[in-house]
Amino acid sequence: MKKDFLMIRNSAAYLTEAVPVIELEAFRNKIAEFCNKADGRIVALLGKKENNESLRIFTVLGSDSKGELYISSAILSGAEYSSLTPDLPQANLFERELYEEFGIIPKNHPWLKPVRNSAGYEFYSLAGDSVHEVAVGPVHAGVIEPGHFRFNCHGEKVFNLEIRLGYQRRGVEELMLKSKPSLRLVLAESIAGDTVIGHALAYCHAIEALADRQVPQRGRVIRALALELERVANHVGDLGALSNDVGFLPVASYFGRLKAEFSNMLLALNGNRYGRGLLKPGGAAFDLDNELVKNFKIRIERGMKEADEITDLLFSTPSVLARFEKTGVVKTEEARKLGLVGPSARASGLQRDVRCDYPFGMYRFKKIIPVKAATGDVFARARVRALEIKRSLTFIDEALEMVPREKISISCEEIKPSSFSVCMTEGWRGEIAHIAFTNERSELSRYKIIDPSFHNWPGLEIALKNGAISDFPLCNKSFNLSYAGFDL
């Protein structure tokens, strides 16, 4: 393990040449071994074109219980290697992505098809007299993002659900390399429109790590406040949407109003309800004054009381529980195999939270207590959200007392050559990973983005297995994944 992998810290820069290069087949076996035996998982698996046009594959592996991150690499000589997917289902999307981007063919992959391109895509289809297929999307009845859902059903029962995305491919990773440094932040904020802070924060960490600069504590506090506010606003919105999907209207409209209360706090902070423009590499772009801190304390206290009342009503209504419980179950073992992250993983009994496992920014100084539920159903996913709202509000309340008097940002312009940095943040959907490489001229040469949705979409497919097709919207809402974040 020692010589094949380099142990790294979250949001720190290392020289690219320090990453071990091992033989491809050994590389593959080590990944499988690490993930299957040592409670690890794949954080990232990506290809990078080297200067001499050969392809180098990097993998970042995480051991959540120990809080350790490892990186390793292999040079791809031929265009083939033995597929990881049969041993390690969570590698499926990563291998298909490598195949799509670089044409690398994993031998014995169960079904190699594109991830985001429509060319050469085939759907799984069941044969049989009374099996029927239902195709939903990519154009939907509500104002939501495009995605195609293919159900193979017998009556109301779903045998298989296949999700095809890629309708919003913008090529963000390539744009990151081409754009001016000042535009990259805007790009990062637009990866997923509802996770502005999460992605912008990961991008800022990457630049700061590569520039080797430390953000002042005041900047860190503001960032953590914004990240938690984003989480609370989205979780509250999700609980409202879940109530709406089961037709429980009073709670749905109450949550809808409450969501705006929290988005409005971000608005008060920097004039944008999603927090666009609040962060910048080196710190925060907007400051808190004492007036605002006092005002926030009052609003948080009131918000906490109202959120408590309304979640109590939601979880004490039998007809709601009857819909939530045992719907869309993802068992702990399945969640582990698929490598789920964020609230969806925590709802299935996996203790995974970047804020605790690989702490960054303010979370290095102030711990946040992670939340977990065991049942893996819609109820658990709703419950985890409700508890996280509580924890995050408490965190914000305490953090507001801990705002030191100092600068909110420093400049960070010079970035180091030939380095890389793995930056993970816990967005409201889960782990966001940005991996940045620089070349000898200190320019970004590869920028890899992994949205939590990339890990979690397969979870939704599993949740629907043998479920009822009429429960799909509810399950979908309980995951509430990003299409744009997946498509990039």
Partner: protein, 302 residues
């Protein structure tokens, strides 16, 4: 002549108003001001003034179905004693009444399957299954009412005025109320407000209808709902032998009460799982059978 005109005014003009009432109650519960009470009329008028878009795979059935559905429901309305007496009642009209509504259902299912969309096929199969359960209950309910009142026409059944003294009618009220919710795609069995095709029953069958066709179907649904509300109200509190305009006035009040009840029920409970709907419908059938047994037993017929 006056009562004929009154019957038509009540039956053809009032129903959308009660949908407005339900929506208003739901809005109040959700803390919103809600749309105007007359919004359902505005919606229907707006749709009637639009053009239609037809699916390429739709045949003539899809085009004529809305009118046929409306016609069969209006015919059913002629049998309902809205002003004390019905317009076209005869002995045995309960069977015609149920089958006219069934005809409307069959036409809705046919026009849904006609366009060949998988959503609408799914909705049609749900409607067919759930409909077969609720028809059974409606018939059992009418048989019970027939035994209690010794008549088989709706007018005669509801001329009898001692419902509250008859324990069976309490059961019947409960089951008719459930059937009212089930037949008119109300919560907790169906959600009339959802935009999620996969969870719909009735709404999904009319996804392809547009313009006047959709307007007519929405209007027909309002009429159908009014018929069921009137029926449910009359089971609990029949007209008896009230003179003049009183039956019509009381009926509207009772229907208003039922609309408010529906609004409240839709606000305080979540929708039940699709898989459980047949169980609920069977339970209401069992309740009807109890009512039947009670009324038979009281009369010494068993």
């Amino acid at each position: 002549m006056f009562f004929i005109i009154l019957h038509f005014i009540i039956f053809l003009a009032m129903p959308p108003f009660f949908i407005g009432v339900i929506n208003r109650v739901k809005s109040l519960f959700a803390g919103r001001r809600g749309p105007p009470l007359l919004q359902p009329y505005f919606d229907i008028i707006k749709l009637l003034r639009k053009g239609s878009v037809y699916s390429k795979s739709a045949s003539f059935i899809f085009k004529i179905a809305p009118m046929l559905i409306l016609t069969s429901i209006i015919c059913a309305g002629l049998l309902m004693p809205l002003t004390g007496d019905s317009l076209a009642g005869f002995s045995g009209d309960i069977i015609l009444f149920v089958y006219l509504l069934a005809l409307a259902r069959v036409l809705t299912i046919l026009q849904a399957m006609d366009v060949g969309s998988s959503f609408e096929g799914m909705g049609a199969s749900r409607e067919a299954i759930f409909g077969s359960f609720s028809e059974l209950t409606v018939f059992a309910g009418f048989v019970t009412l027939g035994i209690i009142t010794r008549s088989t026409s709706l007018t005669d059944i509801f001329h009898w005025g001692h419902a509250l003294k008859e324990p069976a009618t309490l059961f019947l009220f409960a089951t008719f109320f459930f059937i009212l919710l089930a037949e008119n795609s109300r919560m907790p069995l169906d959600d009339p407000n959802t935009h999620l095709e996969l969870t719909m029953i009735h709404e999904v069958m009319i996804l392809d209808n547009s313009g006047p066709g959709l307007g007519i179907i929405l209007y027909a649904s309002a009429l159908k709902m009014f018929l069921f509300m009137a029926l449910t109200a009359l089971v609990l509190l029949p007209n008896g032998d009230l003179p003049g305009l009183m039956p019509a006035g009381f009926l509207l009040l009772k229907v208003l009460g039922i609309s408010i009840m529906i609004g409240v029920i839709e606000s305080i409970a979540a929708r039940i799982r699709m898989i459980k709907i047949p169980q609920v419908l069977i339970a209401s059938f069992v309740l009807t059978v109890f009512a039947l047994l009670i009324s038979l037993f009281e009369r010494g017929m068993i």
